[in-house]
Amino acid sequence: MINKSVENVKTALEGIQNGMTLMLGGFGLCGIPENLIKEISKSNFYDFKCISANVGTDDYGLGLLIRKKKIKTMIGSYVGENEEFERQMLNKEIDVILTPMGTLAEKCRAAKMGIPAFYTPAGYGTEVAIGKEVRSFHSKKYILEEAYQADFALIKAWKGDQAGNLIFRGTAKNFNAIMCGAASTTVVEVEELVQVGELDPNQIHTPGIFVDRIFQGDSYERKIEKLTLSKP
């Protein structure tokens, strides 16, 4: 067994540097790597290029890095729900690259799986296609998209073992499962770190080979962004 567990969030982030490209799992506030984000927000590092579906809220998730002006370039799909981000975007304090959500997902998956580039129909005929190769297959038009290249992937899973095997929960699987292994170094925080042998090999969502470091987070707020109930 290859032991991937590290002591805490600090050791998990060793090697991070100014200007690096970070992939961050999560959709909205669901499945975000809470402890890793908080640690980076407290650090002196800045000028990150971040790849993430969304940008958190004003006071949580990626919003913590945005408030501290640590993000220079944001690659995302939907960047609403965060006023400070909007302010920085309008003032051109932050570069924003908007990407169709499925293309963003597939570019992460491609990076993980060693596919340098692929064709997708999403964005053909729109400004997303500008500067990209267009090609027809079976008389439908597609554009060429390349895999991302990132330095760190910051991942949140539900359970994990010391070998780095992961299980996600509910829709928190979202971008976590595909970004895991898509960067030079993949760091995973879990709600529960279990002993090797406790997870059924048939139920592991992400094998430990895609994980470089794993630790159990100190605490989880698991915030709900939009509480909607059957009887309001």
Partner: protein, 219 residues
Amino acid sequence: MALNKNQIAKRIAQELQNGFYVNLGIGIPTLVANFVPVGIQLEFQSENGILGVGPFPDAGEEDPDIINASKETITTLGSSSFFDAATSFGMIRGKHIDLTVLGAMQVDQQGNIANWKIPGKLVKGMGGAMDLVASAKQIIVAMMHTDRQGISKLKAKCSLPLTGVGCVNRIVTDLAVVDITPEGFYLKERAPGVQIDQIIHATEGKLIVPEDVPQMQLD
């Protein structure tokens, strides 16, 4: 009389068929789930990673790990499954989703759609819209026929940045059901009590008006 949002959703719900996998966008499309005809078996997909979207939870049953693409808390059904975003958009791109319903700022008579960006205004991103319009088997747009200034949203040519090209099959507005054909917009149904002249007036693109335009049946 022009339809309200719930009536638009109700009309769209008539398009639902047995065995459909359906993706609903935010706004009016979300309301379609409230009007699934009796006897129709279908599943709703949400592109953040769930198939078999259940109703909102009872108070105390909400789970931060179970949300839809609008980031609202939801519940699961017996048939539900969770998956990652690459698989989710594989379902969409691979044409496994039968029907996508979404809102729009403009649709033109070539079936082009614009619903993500207004130049000069704050842009929040396309989310999954570009993937959905590029790949769904069938796309229905739910929107008002005109904007608040009374300007037609059914254009000869979209003036706003596009979300997708030649992809919309049908538009359901407060005034009419309009199909996209190789010849242009085709007026299929009118809202109860709405005059054809009013629809023609509210449509900027070329509108083909057949001799008989039935009223929508909403009850």
